[in-house]
Amino acid sequence: MTALNRRDTLLLGAAGMIPTGAMAQETPRKGGVLTVHFATEQRILNPSLQASTGVYIVGGKIQEALVDLDNDGNPVPVLAESWKSSPDGKTHTFKLRQGVTWHDGKPFTSADVAFTAMEMWKKILNYGTTLQQFLTAVETPDAHTAVFKYERPMPQGLLLRALPDLGYISPKHIYETGDIRQNPANTAPIGTGPFKFVQYERGQFIIAERNTNYWRPELPYLDRVVWRVISDRAAAAAQMEAGQILFSPYSSLAISDFQRLSRDARFEVTTKGNEGNARTNTVEFNHRNPVLADVRVRKAIGHALNIPFFIENFLGTFAKVGTGPIPSVSTAYYPTSGIPQIGYDVALANRLLDEAGQRRGAGGVRFSVRLLPAPWGEDISLFATYLQQSLQQVGIRVEIVRLDAAGFLRSVYNDWSFDLATGWHQYRNDPAVSTTVWYRSGQPKGAPWTNQWGWQSDAMDRTIDDAATEVDPARRRALYAEFQKLAQTDVPILTPIEQIFVSVFNKRVRNAANNPRWASSSWHDTWLAS
């Protein structure tokens, strides 16, 4: 273990000692029902089987992960009390919390961790399967120690930043018999968390109640959490105003409603508490199209977009200009200087297109492209329209091809039948989790949200591979700065807008947004003012 690593670990351990309620000025009140907006129904609620915000918002209160993130984005203990890593990065040992019981009364042990890691994270959990690809075994020398063995070096920073999302533990005794995918606990989860699952009424609501045996003494404060299924944004905004829901997570309301509600004294509309869930809007190019294979054309498209104008007029204050695939909220990896930027400059865009040999033809049109917008998110369809409008100014005719989710994923990532696509790239606290796959060549055909552009760069591939197994945090950071620079130089895809999910709270909700993935976190210290 390097000195720096040990210091990191000590600091992290210390951070976890601070009682989480200490920041609040008022005395927390016990009791109350927190009603939460649940926008998209989920097939399963178990976060060790599916990594998505729609699962965390419910499952994250019922099941717990080994670690979580604190207010500054550093890992803090949850089910793991401490951890240490071997210098070669191939062995990571977690000491587990003692005296923790599952909601059905059985004790939580290292066997649960080993089972979940090997059978769920490595085999079923999306992103987990990639992250744990080189995990060979989880040894359990005693009931409260789990030793993760890797075939290749696994940087501790990567593992600890990935585990809050990809490290939820499920009970072995519930899952060990039968098909995991069809286990009834998938929709009626059993965990160690502050809330116990009560009922899931499809299309209507989910209820969880206080776990009276929770391992954090005297917690949680809330009696119950009720998630209301409301798929219609406008209806959700109305319920927010009527006080029928107290919290709407993950940008689930209409953009215009964010602006309206932020002027209302009863509500807080904020990106705080979502720093761990940053995303960038993308412009994905099909490099098999010879016109788009020319970097000058791709840069010209970037220069044709007046992003500050778009943000100001369409997205409001909750977005900012994107500077590369690693967003600025990622304090651990965001490179502060030396990254080329592609600003708004129509004259330059026109010049680059001319230089690329794409001269204006009849009607001032240089060439035509088909743009596929992803069907999620109001901002994506607004941005697609804005792309169409902006590119028309520089002589590129854009035809928008509207597809549903299945059609979009299939057309872009499997059939490669697109010229431009636009959607979101989700950043998950470490570039190796779900960012570098957008740039690394050799992705299996059909894997969504990966490099299916027909673009390959040796320098990029090498940087990504080196960073993935680099155990020294400083060198790793430098490699990702290089990655960001390459991404902004070759522009295989554009990441013009950076966004953080917007939360809307009723101000009665206290201790809200006190960590960077608050909507996903356990809410053990959340309370309601009367």
Binding site: A238, R260, N313, Y386, Q388, V401
Partner: protein, 276 residues
């Protein structure tokens, strides 16, 4: 001539004609009044009607001129309505004529098919067709035509069933004229008037279907259709309700015009059924 006179004596028919002409005029005037791309960025999004003299009907959530979209949208609605109706009428007449003229096995098979189409909610089939073949204007138009023909087929079949036993058909048959001649030259011309009148209903429904698709964000986003505008306005309904309200009135008036016109034609052609 008598029918024409009857038509122009009926105020609803005249109102219908005027409304339809107004929509046609809007479509024709669109490129003159709004030569720029109606889908282009015109100004700040969501400006209320009247707030900016440049945009008498305001701007939509994408910063596009609503008035320009309304005028250009008239062309789209008329085009989709007309083409889809033509498709439905051609298929409907084809199937109805064959079923009604030949009867027997052909009739049974074709009517089973018609029944299948009518048992399946037509909007559901439309959703499937658009999901499968994409949301381009061509697909949407053809799909609407494909789900709208069954009533036309039934109507045509009924007309054929009653006409095929008439004397003039017998006379032609005895002369040894081929079936196609009997169908197209003898029976069809007599069966056509009620079908043409019914086409106005099909057209009204076609315009409604397109706008419903657009409302679900399943129509072609590259054309300025009225339904698209209503769908876009949905996310700002609570505050900027005018975005949805304005194109809705346009659809309402267009459909009102088409139905009044159809009813006027019907009354003029079938004086027996005219309102007493």
């Amino acid at each position: 001539m008598r029918a024409l006179k009857a038509f122009f004596r009926s105020p609803p028919a005249i109102i219908g004609l005027l409304l339809v002409l107004a929509v046609v005029a809007m479509g024709l005037a669109a490129p003159l009044l709004y030569p720029n791309d109606p889908l282009g960025l015109a100004g700040r999004p969501l400006q209320w009607p009247g707030a900016n003299p440049r945009f008498p009907l305001g701007t939509d959530p994408s910063g596009r001129d609503i008035a320009a979209q309304l005028f250009h949208g008239a062309r789209i609605s008329l085009l989709i309505g007309f083409v889809a109706t033509s498709i439905a009428v051609v298929i409907g007449i084809g199937i109805g004529a064959v079923a009604g003229f030949y009867g027997g096995a052909a009739d049974t098979v074709l009517m089973r098919l018609t029944e299948a189409f009518q048992t399946l909610p037509n909007f559901l089939l439309l959703l499937v067709l658009v999901a499968v073949f994409g949301s381009t204007m061509e697909v949407v138009t053809v799909a609407i035509g494909l789900v709208s023909w069954p009533p036309v087929a039934r109507l045509t079949r009924a007309e054929f069933l009653s006409l095929r036993t008439r004397e003039f058909v017998y006379a032609a048959r005895i002369q040894g004229l081929p079936d196609w001649h009997l169908i197209f030259r003898e029976v069809l011309p007599n069966a056509l008037p009620p079908v043409i009148v019914y086409a106005s209903v099909v057209m009204a429904v076609a315009i409604l279907l397109e706008s419903s698709l657009a409302f679900l964000q399943l129509s072609d986003p590259n054309v300025p259709s009225w339904g698209n505008l209503i769908g876009l306005g949905r996310s700002v309904l609570r505050t900027e309700w005018y975005v949805s309200a304005i194109p809705g009135v346009a659809i309402l008036l267009a459909i009102l015009g088409v139905s009044l016109l159809g009813q006027g034609l019907n009354d003029a052609l079938n004086p027996r059924l005219a309102p007493r």
